[in-house]
Symmetry: C3
Subunit: 267 residues, 3 copies
C-alpha cells in the first residue's frame, strides 16, 4: 500500500462537496478552534452534549468525535449515549483519550467508553495510547513512556484487540491497524506550543472518516493534512499566537499542489 497526494486531495474535495456534519462532544478549551478548523476544511461542525439530543444529532452526522479533555460525569454519560447511537446508525466514531494516564478516572473512563462502542479511530499521544492499552492488551514493556517505538508496538496490539485504527501522534505520527502501519513525518515544531492541535487532528479524522470508508486511510489523510497545514502555517511564524491563526488560514487555503508535501510511508 502507498498513499499518493491525489488520494488525499480527492478526500478533501469530497469534504468540500459534501460538507459532512461532524458531531463533536469535546472539551471546553478547544471548541472554538475545532469548529473553525472543521469549517476551514469544508465540514459542518456541530457541538452538542445534552443527553436529550445526542442520539438525534448523531443521526444527522457523518462522524462522531468524542474527546474527554474536560470530562465530567454528565458529559461522559452523554458520550456513551452518543457512541451507542453512532454504532446503531453506522456512524464512524473517532475517540481522543486526552490526558489518559494523568488520573485513574481519566484512564478508566477512556477504557470504558471504547468498550461501549468501538471507535473507528483512536488518536492520542504516546502516553495516552499507552494508558489506553494498559489493562486492555497483552503488550507490556519496561520501555520509557516516551519511546515512540514501544508505543508503536502497543498501538498495534491495541488496534488488533479492539479492531480499531490507532493513531499515535508526535514528532512522527504513526497510524496502525491490524494489518497496516504507516508513519507521517509532516509537521512543524511550533505545533505542540498551541493548545488543542491534537484535538484538531482528532476532529479532522472525523471529517475524513465521514467521506472515506477506510478508516485507516481517513486517519492517514487527517494526519498528513495536519502536518502539511502546520508546515505552511509555520513559515516565518513569529509565535504560537500567530500560528493558531495561520493554521486556520492555511487549512482553508489548501490546494492540490500542497499535497505534494506528504511524507507518508509504511513502517
Amino acid at each position: 500500500m502507498e498513499v499518493k497526494p491525489e488520494q488525499i486531495w480527492e478526500n478533501i474535495e469530497k469534504i468540500h462537496g459534501m460538507s459532512p456534519v461532524v458531531h463533536n462532544i469535546t472539551n471546553y478549551v478547544v471548541m472554538n478552534n475545532t469548529a473553525n478548523a472543521l469549517l476551514a476544511l469544508g465540514a459542518s461542525p456541530v457541538m452538542a452534549h445534552a443527553g436529550e439530543e445526542v442520539s438525534d444529532m448523531v443521526g444527522i452526522a457523518g462522524a462522531l468525535v468524542i474527546n474527554i479533555g474536560t470530562l465530567s460525569r454528565p458529559w461522559v454519560k452523554s458520550m456513551g449515549l452518543a457512541m451507542k447511537a453512532a454504532r446503531e446508525k453506522g456512524v464512524p466514531i473517532v475517540f481522543d483519550p486526552v490526558g489518559a494516564g494523568a488520573t485513574p478516572y481519566r484512564s478508566r473512563t477512556a477504557r470504558e467508553l471504547v468498550k461501549t462502542a468501538t471507535p473507528a479511530i483512536i488518536r492520542g499521544n504516546a502516553s495516552e495510547i499507552m494508558a489506553m492499552a494498559d489493562g486492555m492488551t497483552r503488550t507490556r514493556g519496561v520501555d520509557s513512556l516516551d519511546s515512540s517505538h514501544h508505543a508503536l508496538n502497543v498501538a498495534k496490539q491495541l488496534g488488533l484487540d479492539l479492531g480499531a485504527v490507532i493513531c499515535v501522534s508526535g514528532e512522527i505520527d504513526y497510524i496502525v491497524d491490524s494489518a497496516r502501519a504507516f508513519q507521517v513525518r509532516n509537521g512543524h515544531p511550533m505545533m505542540p506550543k498551541v493548545t488543542g492541535l491534537g484535538c484538531t487532528a482528532t476532529a479532522l479524522c472525523g471529517a475524513f472518516a465521514a467521506v472515506e470508508k477506510d478508516s485507516f486511510m481517513a486517519a492517514v489523510c487527517a494526519m498528513a493534512v495536519m502536518g502539511i497545514t502546520g508546515e505552511i502555517a509555520g513559515e516565518d511564524c513569529p509565535g504560537p499566537g500567530s500560528f493558531q491563526v495561520r493554521f486556520v488560514d492555511a487549512l482553508y487555503g489548501l490546494t492540490e499542489r500542497d499535497m505534494a508535501r506528504i511524507k507518508v510511508e509504511g513502517v
Copy 2:
C-alpha cells in the same frame, strides 16, 4: 421609515459612553469571541449561568442575551430564570435559537423559552427561524427551507404572533416586526466560514438593545454594524483565521465614516 448612517453611529456612541453590561448565557464555543466583540464595540460583557446568581446579574445588565448553542438541562433552567427576571426588571432579551430544527429537543426548548418571557429580538438563520415558527404560527408552506422569501413571510407572522422583532440572517439579513420589514445587504462571503459570527450578531443586538429603546432599530443597527465590520475585515483577508482576528480589530476601530457603507432598505 429610513435608516441613516448617523443614527447607527449615534447608537454606537451611546454604547461607548454608557458601556452597558450585556449579560450572556451563551454557548461554550463562542464565549471568548462574543466577549471580545462586545468589548470591542464598547459594551461590558458578563457571562454567568448559575441559577443562584442569574437574577441578580440581570439586575445590573442593560440587556440579556440567551443563546442555546450548547444547551443542557441546568443551563436551560438558568436561561428561564434569567428571562423571567429580565421581564420583571424590564431588561430587553435577545434570543438566539442556535440549531433549532436540528433536533426535537432543541426546537422544543427554543419554543418553550420564548414563551417564558417574550424576547425583544429573536435572531437566527432561515432554518432556525422556520423551526421556531413551526407549531407557533399559522404560516406554513411547501417552500424549501433555504428560501429566504418564505422565511421572511414566516418571520413576519412569528413576529406578529410573539410581539417580537425577528431577525433572519443570511447573505441578506431581514429584520421584521408587526409593522416594519427591512433588509441589510452588508457583509462578506467569508463570514459563514468563521464559527460563531451569528452568535456575535446576537450579542451585538444585545448591546444596541441596551441603549436603543426601539428594538427594531437596535436589530437593524446590529446587523448593519456586523455587515460593515465584516466588509472591512474581509479586505485582502487570507482566510477565516485572520478574519476572526481582523473582525475584532475592525469593530474596535469603527468610525462614523464607515457607517456610510450601510445598505439598508425597506422590503
Copy 3:
C-alpha cells in the same frame, strides 16, 4: 527589597526548564487563552474539573489556579476539593475572584473558597478585592470602589488577615503581603479591551508560584511579565483582536533583554 530584571528572567528560565504542570479550574471564556499563555511561557497547562479527578490532578501539579468566572455549584464543589488537596500536598493555590461584588452568590462563594484553603496569591481588580475583603477584614471605608489607594489599604489588611499575597491589578498593579508592598507600572492601554487578560495574569502567577517559593516574588514576576508582554504586543497594534494574538507571540518570544523594561518599586 528590590526586584531586578535578572531575578524575573531566572524564574522564567526555571519555568522553561521544569515545564511545571499548572492545574486550572477556570472559566469557559478564557480556557483557550489561558492554556496558550501558559504554553507560551513554557509551563504545562491542565484543565480538569471533575470531582472524581481533581485531587489526583493536583498531585501532579506545581500549582493550582482557581478562577470563579463562570462558577456553578458542581464546579465550586470541585474547586473546594482541589483546594483541600492542594493544601494537603503543599501545592500553592492562586485564586481569582472574578466578578466578586457583582452578585451575592459570587462574593459569598469567593470568601468561602479562600476559607477552605488559604491561597498563596489572590489576584483581582480593585472591586473584586474590595468585595473579597468585605466582611473578612476590619478595614472599611467610604472611598469610591475604584480608588486604587483605598483598595491598596484594604488589600494590605486582607493579606494580613488571610496570610496571603494580594495582587490588585489595574493601570498600576499592587502586590502586597503582611510585610511588603510593591507596584508594577508596566502594561498597555489596550489590555482591558481583551477579555481574560486578568485571568491570564492569574494563570501566570500559578506558573511562577510553581518555581518560586516566595509567593510575593512569584506574583511580582507574573505582573511584570504581563505588563512587559503587553507593552511589546501593543506596539503599532491595530486593535484588540490582533493584541490577543500578539500577546501570545510576545510571551513566547520574551528575552532576558526585555526584562529591562520592568517598572517595579516599593510603595
